[in-house]
Symmetry: C2
Subunit: 242 residues, 2 copies
């Protein structure tokens, strides 16, 4: 069944209003009709609805039932990703959204070859946000993962305190994910993955000093876009979310 | 250090000969010189070598030491992948090779939209084999994963007997990978992932009858190219290979 995310202000006692591009999309592209069923989602709640009226600007859907979104993980995993080359970030945002991350934050590290200006990145950020929304709809998420603005590594260091557990995938070696006991109980987790060149030793050491745990993904050298998907898959498995 | 795969016939007591495209690539593209070190690999053995002579047709490298390839998993995982649309198979072969699969076999199932002819697929197979080799070099594998010719699902059924454990990712529900006890001891594993439309119920049931285990990858609906990477990552983690 098609799924769309709606804002809280558009949910009423017995009905949901869908406005903007989604309304047009439902009527024109999907060719949905009055009486068709649709899932609308807001803040981790799925509303099973039946379409009551359709126009190019608004769709009214009557609520049949509401339930907590089944597919949303019970951990809050934020991926900090050192900015990779070309369009690899598109791919990472899409896959991280499917696999259950709540946020992807691009970080400029010393070894990043691609170093977009924060201001210039804003346009790309909007595009990445759309990719996250599409992936969230398709995979049945309960929220749309957020794509953050670009930050430098100092800002990452300052954010570490906000998480129960901070993981950094380090080619210099570390613990296997299944050997990190705290992973089974942590509710908020940050995961930091390097760009093509990995992490500068000093940058990684600074993160470890501030409490981050070095993680190894084994002896094979994974590409910078493969590593986050591999790590998120394993984390979601260990925490019972895959 | 650059890594190349060589054939057994080109390994001698104290030296390795590199011939063909790789020889040209070493001298021209990588601009390597006499005295440079290089890793040459054959059948899960890494030879650390020093280049002794270079021409466009042959490179001679003297063996400094030889070791079992560290990065090769100790399980033999074959991915059976129902043929997806567009160029997703390129992506799947690349990532499965990095993550440690020994073979990728494309399978035609009832719900495949893309249904290439076996003969027509041969050209694509050669291209996919090159992708596997590149990924194997880059990730430090001990073998080049094989890309099989396209088969139909009946041929898949006949191959199930050859594995210690057969897994099929099923959207109709199944066991979580970490709950499959045999996974910890199985040495040869087959993993079957559907195309965009998933598996036809009868097709899946036939596999289960023949001993395949239904596997769930959780409540989120993963795209057909995300599911194999997620499953391989988790299998490699559970078996101690990531």
């Amino acid at each position: 069944m098609p799924k769309f995310f709606v804002k809280e202000e558009n949910i009423f006692e017995d009905r949901v209003m869908i406005v903007g591009d989604d309304a047009r999309h439902i009527g024109r592209s999907l060719r949905m009709k009055i009486g068709d069923e649709i899932t609308l989602c807001c803040n981790n709640t799925d509303y099973s609805c039946r379409i009551a009226s359709i126009s190019d600007t608004a769709v009214r859907a009557d609520i049949l039932s509401k339930n907590k979104t089944q597919a949303e993980p019970d951990i809050s995993l934020v991926l900090f990703q050192a900015v990779p080359k070309s369009d690899k970030l598109d791919f990472i945002v899409q896959k991280a959204s499917e696999l259950g991350a709540v946020k992807v934050v691009p970080v400029i590290t010393r070894r990043c070859v691609s170093r977009p200006d924060k201001k210039v990145f804003e346009k790309k950020q909007r595009r990445l946000q759309k990719i996250a929304e599409e992936a969230a709809k398709q995979s049945g998420r309960g929220i749309i993962p957020e794509v953050g603005g670009i930050i430098d590594i100092k800002e990452y260091y300052d954010m570490l305190k906000g998480f129960d557990l901070n993981l950094l995938c380090y080619e210099g070696g570390g613990k296997r994910l299944c050997d990190i006991d705290l992973l089974k109980s942590a509710k908020s987790i940050s995961l930091f993955v390097g760009s093509e060149g990995g992490f500068d030793e000093n940058e990684a050491e600074e993160a470890f000093k501030r409490g981050a745990t070095a993680v190894t993904l084994g002896d094979r050298i994974l590409r910078c876009e493969t590593a986050p998907l591999c790590a998120i898959s394993i984390i979601m498995n260990i925490t019972g979310n895959i």
